[in-house]
Every structure is written in C-alpha cells, then in structure tokens.
Subunit: 213 residues, 2 copies
DNA sequence: GTCTATACCAAGATAGAC
DNA sequence: GTCTATCTTGGTATAGAC
C-alpha cells in the first residue's frame, strides 16, 4: 500500500466532532500533498485517504488552496515545535546536531517535510509562493535568533535540510539495497536516522500514479 | 511579463525544420515546466510559450509525459556539460569552487535548474521518479568519479545545490530589497553570481497563475 | 509541418437530501 | 455532520484539413 491509504469502504463516516474530523483530514492531506504536490493532488484522493467524501473535504476547507495553506501552516508549526524541543532538551551534543536530528526525525511524520518542499518550488504562485517564502524565512529566523546560529551555520543547516528533503522526495531509499552508489550517498546524507528513512520506504509504492503501460 | 512569454499572435508559425522547432519547444517547455511543475504545466501553456498550437506540441512529442522526460534529459545533459567545462577549465581556483560557479551560472538558462528540482520531488511517480533518481545519481557519480570528490564533498556540493534550487524555486530574490533577513540569507547562499539571480527575477511576475481575487 | 475543431475525461465546486 | 448527484471548467489527445 502507498503512504496514502484509503480508509476502506464508502460507508458513511461515523459522525464525529468537526475539530477531530478536521485534524484527520489535515493529516491525510499532508500525506497526499506530500506525495503528489499541490497540483497533482485531487481533493478526491485526500477524501479517500481520510475516509470521507470529496465534497465534504471541500466543504470543510472552502477550496483546495485553502486546505493546502492550512496543511503548510500546520507543518511549519510542527517543524518549529520540534526545533524548540531540541533547543530546550538537555544534552551534551552540540545544538546544531540536536536540531538536525530533530529535523530528520520529522520524516516519520509522513508528508510533513515533503509538503513543505513542494511549496518551496511553487514560488511563482501568488498565494502559495507567498506562504512558502514566509515559512522558509520563519525557519531561517529561528536558526539565527532562537538557536543562535550565525548566517553561515544557518545557511549550512538549511542546505543540508534541502538535501534531506530531496532524498526523501526522490525516494532515493528505493535504491539503497540494489545500488551501491545510492547507498553511499544515503549513508553520507543521513548521519543518524537513516534507518528511519529506510523503514518509511517499505510500505510505499507507486499506487495512485497512473500505471505505466 | 512572466518568464513564460507567449510568442505573440495565432498566425501560423512559419514553417521550419522539425529539428529546429523541436528545440524551440523544448526550450519553452523547460521554462514552463520549471515554473509550474509537471502537473501544473499544460501543453497549452507550453504551446503558447513556443508560439505554436497545442496539438502540435502533443503531436511532436507524443504525450506530455514524454515531453517532460525529454526536457529533463536535456537539462541533465546541459548540466553535466557545464560541469565538464568547469573541470577542463584552466584556473587557479579550486575545483569545487569552479564547478559550484558553473552550477549557479546555469540559473541563466531559464527553468533548467527548476525543472530538475520539480522532478526530484516527484519520486513516487513510476516513470518520472525513475528518471529523476537516475539523473540525480548520474550527477553524484560525476562528482565522485570525474571530479574526484570524496563522498563528503559530493554530499556537501549537492546540499548546496539543493539550497540554491530552493532559493530560486521559492523566488526568495523577490524579498531581497525589502527584507533584510532574506537579503542576508541570499548573500550567504550565493557566493558569487547573486547578481545573476536578482536580474533573473526582474521580469518575472505571477502571470500564468490564477490571479488571487 | 502546422493548424482548427472536437471528443473525452478528470477534477473542483455547488445544491440539497439525510 | 456527512453524503449523493451534478454542474462546469479545463486539459490531453485525436482526426483531419491546409
């Protein structure tokens, strides 16, 4: 099964509080948007992943775009939350190492890192691009101000993050076992937590994409 | 006008050799795909940018997907070509610096870097993802083998590249003049050739994206 | 080699029932 | 709160004329 697993049949979803349902859909949407990108995601896919009907998704968030914005906002919130956690943490490890680890650990929150990455390449979109720039700068500011990194360190940190995102997005881990070159690159790119990446890949397939004939 | 500038009116394009027209369309497609991504690009947009009719684009390349694959392939070719140029170049600068500069210089080839970046996040697509992984690994192999970098240097180089791609994709340069934080990040991210990025941004707009009402 | 016309399908959004 | 049915748009691809 893909990371985007429809919650089974069409039987009406059991009635639940709007807030809970909302959270459920946002989680599902994060995964789906992370896999297919903004344009490549249909509200139908999100609905299936969340186990509700397509119109309900639209109804609840207004438009696909608004849904995406909420997803991005939420992802960013969690990202910074994780960073602040690493900052507060008692440890003898250097700070950049701790925050880096926190970042990589976010891989287990399916789609979270990827959904941001997708937003980052949509800079020319008037509304999504704007949100992406703001979000990115927010992270940069965190590194400079709260974490106390200098400009060079911050840049370096972000560069590593973008590489990590790319390795996840491109699903390089699929090549890990068969391709020694890929393995070397992966080993080099994930100081720790490579296991996390490899596990994640296990139940991913190409489901949801049109099958190549 | 956007980077994707329609070549004026609908008057039948002057008859030209298939090969030349092909190249023309590939150039246009690189720009458009770079801006909107694979799914976000319509064959119609490509056609307009190239100054031909939409069915002609499809006719010439078979499907949108095949066109995209050709675009990626071509972009990768040019990338490696540029790297090999830097490799051969006589200079007292260190090699990594030269190749890095060659990379950043590719920004002026509109869409080239971005079209690759878009492919990198589409890893779960059976055919595009496959091409993306291959391409990425090809670059890595170049660094390790031809350029003679070790694994760490190569990783570092790629990380920097992904940050550069992200800065371009997110159109961070739009913030350069107004936002000091963005300026600092940009100054830090582009050792040289920042001017190139800033120039590029000048004639970009959000044209082509649905206007926010 | 290039276009016009069009078939066909997918997807977002709306209306209204339960 | 959640669904079914449906309208509408827009996008790929095909047919066939010039």
């Amino acid at each position: 099964m893909s990371s985007v697993t429809p919650t089974e049949s069409k039987t009406p979803a059991t009635r639940m509080k709007s807030e809970d349902r909302r959270e459920l859909i946002l989680t599902a949407a994060t995964e789906v948007f992370g896999e297919f990108g903004y344009v490549g995601t249909t509200t139908e896919k999100v609905a299936q992943a969340a186990g509700v009907s397509q119109p309900y998704v639209v109804r609840m968030f207004g438009t696909k775009e608004k849904l995406y914005l909420e997803v991005i906002h939420r992802a960013l919130e969690r990202l910074l939350e994780a960073f602040r956690g690493a900052l507060a943490e008692e440890s003898d490890k250097p700070l950049d190492h701790r925050i880096g680890l926190a970042y990589v650990t976010l891989m287990s929150d399916r789609g979270l890192l990827l959904v941001l990455m997708h937003a980052f390449v949509l800079g020319s979109d008037p509304v999504i691009g704007e949100a992406a720039r703001c979000g990115f700068l927010e992270v940069y500011e965190f590194l400079r101000t709260e974490a106390g990194f200098d400009a060079g360190q911050s840049r370096q940190f972000l560069a590593n993050g973008m590489l990590v995102n790319t390795m996840i997005g491109i699903r390089m881990s699929d090549e890990y076992s068969a391709n020694p070159i890929a393995r070397e690159l992966l080993d080099e790119s994930f100081p720790e937590k490579l296991d996390l990446l490899l596990e994640l890949g296990d139940d991913r397939t190409t489901a949801g994409h049109e099958a190549a004939e």
